[in-house]
Amino acid sequence: MAKIFIYPTNSLILSDLVERFGHKPLAMMEKIREKITTVGIDSPPINITPEDPKLGLKYAAVEVPAGVRGRMSIVGPLIDEAEAAIIVLDSASAFGCMGCARTNELTKFLARQKDIPRLEVKYPRTEEEGKDFVYQIAEFLNSLPNEEDEE
């Protein structure tokens, strides 16, 4: 079971496909869950600890807006942990939680810099593209090692 970084990091479709084909998606939701259930965060809903901006500095310089660093403090460790990555381009829905364009660029850049198997596909717009999208992702996931956890 490989750990797959997905972009967009909160995607239902990608998260589901990765799990469906027997791997572990590294998605934003798990990190958010860890954050909001950690005892000791003083002031929800801010959910930022003094450690977060420092963590973000590992991925983005100090002059980069705090929002990017804050987001990278969550996304960056996911990329570090990844054993493979699936990046979906042209997502019409890169807004809302995924709405920071600079973070998105940096996320994709860091995922591309890492020496791991990577698949880049475009978001499907038609049924034909949908078939190809699922086929490419499935073949990519099937090509990754799928042994059970040794722990």
Binding site: S11, E127, E129
Partner: protein, 144 residues
């Protein structure tokens, strides 16, 4: 939340099926004998509870129609004050728009999963590229 270290997770189950309704999924979950909380929503169900129980129940629901039931984890539990619109004065909760956009393209993905085994990539049809603004401008002007 209890004071014990229970690994509680929430999963969103989205149903895009002609044969399974969100209410069927909810009934299936109610039938299970595990200790979980569920919330029915317009697109499916949210299941909260200990990780093992949630994963067991979600697997059962997925088995109802594997290619048409989609699952993802959610960070916040249902009804969390920081996200629930009841306590935020209405409006869609953060994250809803993204989910709604993806739910709209689930029929494409479901059909692709149905046909995954028989799909032959060599028969792939090239989709037309997006039209360039200059070409679009030419078309508009030519019709005037």
């Amino acid at each position: 939340m209890s004071g014990e270290d229970v690994d509680e997770i929430t999963k969103i189950v989205v149903i895009d099926s002609e044969s399974v309704l969100p209410s069927d999924a909810a009934m299936k979950i109610y039938e299970s004998d595990v200790d979980i909380t569920i919330k029915e929503t317009c697109f499916g169900t949210m299941v909260t509870g200990p990780r093992d129980s949630v994963e067991k129940v979600v697997a059962e629901v997925r088995a109802l129609d594997p290619n048409h039931v989609f699952v993802k984890q959610r960070g916040f539990p249902p009804g969390d004050e920081r996200r629930c619109r009841a306590s935020r004065g209405g409006g869609p909760r953060p994250g809803f728009h993204y989910l709604r956009t993806e739910v709209a393209s689930l029929p494409i993905i479901s059909r692709a999963l149905d046909e995954y085994e028989t799909y032959n990539p060599s028969e792939k049809e090239e989709s037309p590229d997006k039209i360039s603004p200059s070409k679009l401008k030419d078309i508009i002007e030519s019709e005037l």
